[in-house]
Structure formats: structure tokens, C-alpha cells
């Protein structure tokens, strides 16, 4: 080996090492943000690890975290209930995580937003949301749809978002509350329900556009996943149900009743997971919605939870 090649390898190794040191220090110095909405996922994880079975676990996107009251369910039914709902932008990753914590006797109620059925990208999760979620528990990287392929990109995004957040904190004079609004990670109750929106007095926080729900062109992958999830749960002695996501009357109307009915018909045909929600209960009046077509306000959350309790009792009784 010539002296030039040797010098090159030594100097390159030094530069790479220094780069790794700079990046590692940056990475470690900026801690996960305790006020981020996704900080609630640590509480969810804690509940999944420490709540004894049998229990009811509610899982899905923000239609679950905003729109089902696990605490009320627990009080009514007398068994532990965990709200593991967080954000539809995470795709199926939270369900993959949940798979590990299923125990015999668990009752799992999945409520996925329509977008996850119709769009492959949504199903895989948004890289920015996933990187924020993984930041709270790095081992979550294994719940990505293609961990080896996606992990380097996710960690690169995580690094950028950490730095962005730090810069953002400085620019906002030390607090990000101005941009966070109600979406703060400390606003969860002991069952994992998000409660940041319950204090809002207005029922309709902002004008929600009456766009249609994406209920057509359903992806095969989601049904394959649900079947697999159901099989694993059964093998572990648990049961899985599907609850319709919170659906707003005007948006249902824009979608079309026949199309909505088709969605649930297709679901029943392609999945062995029983649906808890009777079709007539799927769409809720506009007054029960908070800020998006999936987020219920306090009144809507109460109504939906009471109906869910009734439906769950009916279906489980029938299954017995």
C-alpha cells in the first residue's frame, strides 16, 4: 500500500469519526420533547406493559385518542381499558407494536381511519410522524413496514427534526406552546385517553370541510394485515373487533350512503374481524365534531363510547 493511500485512509477515518461524534452529540443532546402530542405514546406503552389482562385495548388513529373514553368504559364494564389510539399518520406501526403486548383474555378494538384502507402511503405511515414516534422508544424501529430499508431515512429525519425543534424552541422564546395549541403530550388521562380538547367550550372549533371519506379502492395489504393480526391475537387467546372510525354526517353525505355501505360490506367480506358498529350508527351529527372529520368533542366522545359499550356487550354476548 502506497503512503498516499495510507494517508488517505487515516485522514478519511479521522474525518468520518469526527462527523460521527458531531452527529452523535447532536442526537443525544437533544432529548425527546415531553410536551409533544406523541409523548403520550410512552404512557400507552407503559399501560400495555403493566396493565394486567384481561383488558380491553382500543387502537387506531386520533379518532380513537380523541373520540373514545376508555376511562368511562372501564368504570362501566369493570375491566381495565387502555386507549392506545394516537395518529393515523403512523400507519400500521402502532398495531405492530401492540401485537407484542397481546395476552390471553385481551379484547382488542381496532378503529382505523378510512384513509388507511384506501392509500398505501398512509398505510406505511408518514416518515416524519414515524420518526417522532420512534424517538420516544428507539426499539420501535422494528415496527416499520420495511425496517432495514426505512430505518436510515427515519433516523436522518429524526436528526433533522430534533435540530429543527431546538431551533424552533429558541425562536419561540423557549416554549412551543404557541404552535402546539391543545396538542400537548401531557394532556392524557390515566387510561391513555387524550383529554386536551375536552375543555374547549365551542363544539365546532373550526369549519370542517365536508369532503368525502376515501372509502373506495381499498388496498389488499390492509386486509392481509388485519387477517394476520387477528390470527396472532387468536393464537394468544385474545379477540379482535373493528369499530367504525368517528364519521361526520356531512362528510358521510358527501361520500354517499351507498359508498359508505359498500365499505362495510367489503370489510365484512374480506375480513374475519367482526364489526361492532351497526351501519346506522356509523355517521354522527356534525355537532359532535371538534376540529376535523375524525375528531369528536366531549359530547360526541361520550355518545360514541356509550354506544361502543352497548355494541361490544351485544357482540361478545352473541359470540358466547
Amino acid at each position: 500500500m502506497s503512503s498516499d493511500v495510507r494517508t488517505f485512509f487515516v485522514s478519511t477515518a479521522q474525518v468520518i469519526l469526527l462527523t460521527v461524534v458531531i452527529i452523535t452529540i447532536t442526537f443525544l443532546a437533544i432529548k425527546p420533547d415531553p410536551d409533544h402530542y406523541f409523548a403520550g405514546s410512552l404512557l400507552h406503552l407503559h399501560l400495555l406493559e403493566n396493565t394486567p389482562s384481561p383488558r380491553i385495548i382500543l387502537v387506531g388513529g386520533s379518532n380513537v385518542s380523541f373520540g373514545i373514553d376508555a376511562e368511562l368504559m372501564q368504570r362501566t364494564l369493570g375491566i381495565p381499558v387502555i386507549n392506545d389510539g394516537l395518529h393515523a399518520g403512523l400507519g400500521l406501526a402502532p398495531l405492530r407494536e401492540l401485537e407484542e403486548y397481546i395476552h390471553a383474555g385481551d379484547e382488542i378494538i381496532i378503529s382505523l381511519e378510512y384513509d388507511l384502507f384506501a392509500n398505501q402511503d398512509v398505510l406505511n405511515g408518514d416518515p416524519a410522524f414515524l420518526s417522532d414516534w420512534i424517538e420516544y422508544s428507539p426499539r420501535r424501529v422494528k415496527y416499520l413496514s420495511n425496517p432495514w430499508e426505512e430505518a436510515p431515512g427515519i433516523y436522518a429525519i429524526m436528526l433533522q427534526r430534533k435540530v429543527n425543534r431546538k431551533v424552533n424552541t429558541y425562536l419561540f422564546g423557549g416554549s412551543l406552546n404557541e404552535v402546539r395549541d391543545i396538542f400537548v403530550g401531557t394532556k392524557y388521562d390515566l387510561n391513555g385517553d387524550f383529554i386536551g380538547h375536552l375543555q374547549e367550550t365551542s363544539t365546532n372549533r373550526r369549519k370542517i370541510p365536508a369532503t368525502s371519506y376515501p372509502v373506495s379502492g381499498l388496498q389488499d395489504d390492509i386486509f392481509v394485515f388485519l387477517e394476520n393480526f387477528n390470527r396472532i391475537a387468536r393464537e394468544k387467546g385474545a379477540r379482535v373487533y373493528f369499530e367504525a372510525p368517528a364519521s361526520r354526517q356531512s362528510n358521510c353525505k358527501a361520500t354517499g350512503k351507498a359508498q359508505m355501505a359498500d365499505f362495510f360490506k367489503t370489510f365484512a367480506e374480506r375480513s374475519s374481524v367482526p364489526v361492532l358498529t351497526p351501519f346506522d350508527d356509523v355517521c354522527l351529527p356534525n355537532k359532535y365534531f371538534f376540529d376535523t372529520e375524525y375528531h369528536l368533542n366531549a359530547q360526541g366522545r361520550e355518545l360514541r363510547t356509550k354506544r361502543l359499550i352497548e355494541n361490544w356487550i351485544k357482540v361478545t354476548t352473541a359470540l358466547k
Partner: protein, 512 residues
């Protein structure tokens, strides 16, 4: 394959390592295979276009050496027709056809020819011009015909400059490809540093500018004058960093393998006149047009009106070279117009400068002429960037609109910021400044702040490079300091680069 892709991060070290490990006689094969792979990462079948071009020009080169007189001219014509024919078919057929159809409709004729569903091959204009320069140089006797088909193919296809230049001349590159290159530490590391700087310009600056440019240029009718001006200035920075960043990566990667490509950019925004701008911007293309279009037309050694015509027509063709659209033609024409006007009014400017005593203030004169050149160039970029001629004209017409209300509102925000200092401290001023910027960019204050940081690095380095050889100066510093500087640059690219966080941005000039 994109230089700013993960695939290139693997491709480059593998090819370079194999290059230095292989005996010289096999290296051309490796580089040719690597170049084919690099090109085929886009649309594989288009490699056939290159195969045809190279084969025709290979035999044309041999024929040009063999024949004399009329036969020689016929051979040259065959080569030019093949090259230009490919370009005309893939790049200009639909444009010409659509315009003919419009004309036919206007005069009430039935025009039966439909446009073709073809995708423009990546870098077609670049490798066609490079191939053409080979046959022209052989015809002129400046270059011997290449007898080794593989080396000629490599000359046209050499991957660092295959898809976006620099457009090389055979005299500069062919002999370098034939020469055995050894691993030389200073040359290899200088090449890598150049690549890193190019990556910074592309990933950290240019791709960040996209955030300010695209929202406005994708829908200019929904934006007022200040936003249009801001987006246009951002595009001026974007295109410079995008294209010169690409050129730096190309030059750097070739340098690592011992090939010195021609300089393509030389701080163009420091130019004090439009003609100087074109001596500093896309140098390989402007010299190509100078050598093969402008001078053959007579250059400036003709009567004044003909000289003006030569200037104008050269830039008009240059505009057309960039893209088959009226926006590019007008962009080229605008630069031709600038040059003609400045050539015609040069005595007037000299007299004005003497009259206003600007001659006695050379620094002020430099600032004024540099800014004037920059704003003229930036104004022309409107036509280059706009999606259509109608949108470009809309932007031009509305550059001055909405300033009054924007400035009044900004004034109020700033005033409020100053009033709040007592309660909120200096943060209230910072907040006011970001509030003023937000309507222009529609971006968060974090994005604006990080962009300002990236621009600050860019400007400092550019000024230092302009004033002297930055790498030479850096070599004088202690080793540990140099290592920290290089590691920091790589870390900044990884942390602040936008490609990972959003959709990877292709280089702008790939489309040409």
C-alpha cells in the same frame, strides 16, 4: 442516478476503488460499464440513443481524417444531422408540432399531425453537444480521430459529466482518459472536498430554496408582488446552487479519478456586466456557443449591425437549447437583448460614469454594476422558471403590486415588536421579523431561520473563494482544524439537508 441519492453514495466509492485497483488497460471498460449503469438508472432503453450517436460519430471521426474536400464536408454534415436530428426529434418535435397546429388553427387549416408521447432522454442536449464538438474538432484538425471505440464512447458517456455537463471538448478530456492515473492523496482529497461543497450547495441550499420558490411559482396568480419578488430571488439562488453544486460534484468526482474537467462556474453573481456573467455562468455551454455558433457567424469581426445580430441569435439559440418552450426562448432573447443594448450604449455609460464622478468611487461603481447585473439576470430567470409564458407575463406585470399594504403591515408589526421589548425582551423583535417574512414564504420561522443560516455559510465561502484559493488557505491551517472543518461540513449536510426530509429533488439541468 442522482448525485444526491443513496445509490450514488455506494456507486461512487465502489467504482473509484475498483478503478484504482484495476490495471490501466482495463479501466476504460470499468468506467464505460459504470457510466452505462449510471445512465440506465433513469430510462434504460434511451442508452440506444447514445449508442447510435457514438457509433455515427466514431465512424464520422475516422472518415473526417480519411477524406478531404467535399467528401469531408459530407461526413461532417452526416454527423451534425444525426446528432441534431436526435435532439430535434426528442426535444423539439412536439414543441414545433404544437405551434404548427396552433398556427394552422389560426388560419383555419386542418392540421393532421398529433404530438408524440415521448419522454425527453436525460441530459440529451449535453451529450449531443459533447459528441458534436468531437466531430467538429476532428473536422477542424484540432483533434485526431479516436481509433479506440471504447475511449470515444467513454468520452461521450463519462458518468460525472454525462447528464448535465460540463460539456467537454475532446482536446481536454480524451488524452486524460488515455493517461494512466495514479492515486495521489492531495488530488483525491481536493476532489472529495469539492464534491462535499457541491452537495452542500445542492442539498442544503438549493433544495431548501425549493420551499420558497415552488409554492409561489406553482400558483403565481394567488400571490402579491412582494412574494413574487422574494420567490424569484430565491430561484436565482436555487438555480445557481443546484447547477453549480452539480458541476462541483462532477468536477470533484472526475478529479478523484485524475481527470480534470473544465470549470463550469466562476462566481457568476459577482459579475459586473451581462457579458462577464456569461463568462462565469455555465462556461462550458457559453464557450461551446462562442466556438461553434457565434464565431462561425462572424463574431464581432463584422459590421456592427451584423455583430449585434450574431450576439442576439446566439443567445436565442442558447435559450432554445435549454428547453422547447417559448419561456426559454424569451429568456435567451432577453439575455441577447441585454448584451446588444449594453454593447450599443457602452459609450453612454462611460460618459455617465465620468459625469457623476462614479469613476472616482470604484468600489461604489463595482457595487452598482454588480447589483444591476444580478437584478437583470434575476428578472430573466422569471421566464426560465415560470410554467408558461402567460404565467411569466403575469409575474412581470405584478412584481410591483401589493407593496404598499405589505410595507404598511410590516411597519405595524415591527412597531409592535419594539413596543413589546420592555415586557418580552429582544424576542419580540425577532418574532416581528419572522412575522414580516411569513407572508412572503408561507414557511415556518424555523425553515426561514435555517435557510438564513445556510445562506450565511454559502455567502461567506463564496466570498472567500472569490478573493483567493480557499483550499490553499485551508491547507495552511493545522491538521486538526482542517479535519473539524470537513467533518462539520459533512455533519451540516446530513443534518440540514432537505432531501431526506422531503421528496428528493432532481437537478434542474437534468431536464435539458
Amino acid at each position: 442516478m442522482l448525485f444526491n441519492s443513496a445509490a450514488f453514495l455506494v456507486f461512487f466509492p465502489v467504482v473509484t476503488t475498483a478503478y484504482f485497483l484495476l490495471p490501466h488497460r482495463f479501466r476504460w471498460m470499468l468506467l464505460l460499464a459504470a457510466s452505462c449503469y449510471f445512465y440506465m438508472a433513469f430510462i434504460p432503453k434511451y442508452i440506444l440513443i447514445l449508442a447510435v450517436t457514438i457509433t455515427v460519430d466514431y465512424f464520422a471521426g475516422l472518415g473526417l481524417e480519411k477524406f478531404e474536400g467535399r467528401k469531408k464536408r459530407w461526413v461532417l454534415m452526416a454527423s451534425i444531422l444525426t446528432n441534431i436530428g436526435m435532439l430535434a426529434f426528442f426535444k423539439y418535435f412536439n414543441f414545433a408540432n404544437e405551434n404548427l397546429a396552433l398556427l394552422a388553427k389560426f388560419i383555419g387549416w386542418n392540421y393532421p399531425i398529433h404530438s408524440l408521447a415521448i419522454i425527453l432522454p436525460i441530459g440529451l442536449s449535453f451529450h449531443t453537444f459533447q459528441s458534436l464538438s468531437y466531430t467538429i474538432e476532428v473536422y477542424r484538425g484540432h483533434q485526431k480521430a479516436e481509433r479506440h471505440f471504447g475511449y470515444l464512447a467513454l468520452y461521450v458517456m463519462y458518468y460525472p459529466q454525462l447528464v448535465a455537463g460540463p460539456i467537454e471538448r475532446p482536446q481536454n478530456i480524451l488524452h486524460q482518459l488515455h493517461t494512466e492515473q495514479r492515486f495521489e492523496y492531495p488530488r483525491v482529497t481536493d476532489g472529495l472536498k469539492r464534491m462535499a461543497w457541491g452537495m452542500f450547495k445542492k442539498i442544503v441550499v438549493a433544495d431548501r430554496m425549493v420551499l420558497f420558490v415552488n409554492p409561489v411559482y406553482s400558483d403565481p396568480t394567488n400571490h402579491h408582488g412582494p412574494a413574487l419578488v422574494f420567490a424569484t430571488l430565491a430561484f436565482a439562488i436555487q438555480i445557481y446552487c443546484d447547477f453549480s453544486g452539480y458541476s462541483d460534484i462532477a468536477l470533484g468526482s472526475a478529479q478523484v479519478m485524475g481527470v480534470k474537467l473544465m470549470k463550469n462556474f466562476d462566481h457568476p453573481y459577482f459579475a459586473r456586466s451581462i457579458s462577464e456573467f456569461w463568462r462565469r455562468w455555465h462556461i462550458s455551454l457559453s464557450t461551446w456557443f462562442r466556438d461553434y455558433v457565434y464565431i462561425p457567424l462572424g463574431g464581432n469581426r463584422v459590421a456592427r449591425p451584423r455583430w449585434m445580430f450574431n450576439l442576439f441569435i446566439t443567445f436565442l439559440i442558447s435559450g432554445l437549447w435549454h428547453g422547447a418552450d417559448w419561456t426559454y426562448i424569451i429568456w435567451g432573447a432577453l439575455h441577447g437583448f441585454y448584451l446588444v443594448v449594453f454593447a450599443l450604449t457602452e459609450p453612454f455609460w462611460r460618459r455617465l460614469s465620468a459625469l457623476t464622478r462614479l469613476d472616482r468611487l470604484p468600489r461604489l461603481k463595482i457595487v452598482i454594476s454588480t447589483l444591476t447585473t444580478f437584478f437583470l439576470v434575476t428578472f430573466a430567470w422569471i421566464f426560465f422558471r415560470a410554467a408558461s409564458l402567460a404565467e411569466a407575463l403575469y409575474i412581470v406585470r405584478h412584481l410591483g403590486s401589493g407593496w404598499r399594504s405589505y410595507l404598511v403591515q410590516s411597519g405595524h408589526v415591527l412597531q409592535e415588536g419594539f413596543q413589546n421589548i420592555a415586557n418580552l425582551g429582544p424576542y419580540s423583535i425577532v418574532s416581528a421579523i419572522f412575522t414580516i417574512f411569513t407572508p412572503l414564504t408561507e414557511e415556518s420561522r424555523t425553515v426561514i431561520a435555517l435557510t438564513a443560516f445556510a445562506l450565511m455559510i454559502l455567502i461567506v465561502i463564496e466570498v472567500l473563494q472569490y478573493r483567493g484559493n480557499l483550499l490553499e488557505e485551508l491547507h495552511q491551517k493545522p491538521v486538526y482544524l482542517r479535519r473539524i472543518v470537513y467533518a462539520s461540513l459533512i455533519a451540516v449536510i446530513l443534518i440540514f439537508g432537505t432531501s431526506y426530509a422531503s421528496v428528493q429533488q432532481a437537478f434542474i439541468y437534468f431536464q435539458f
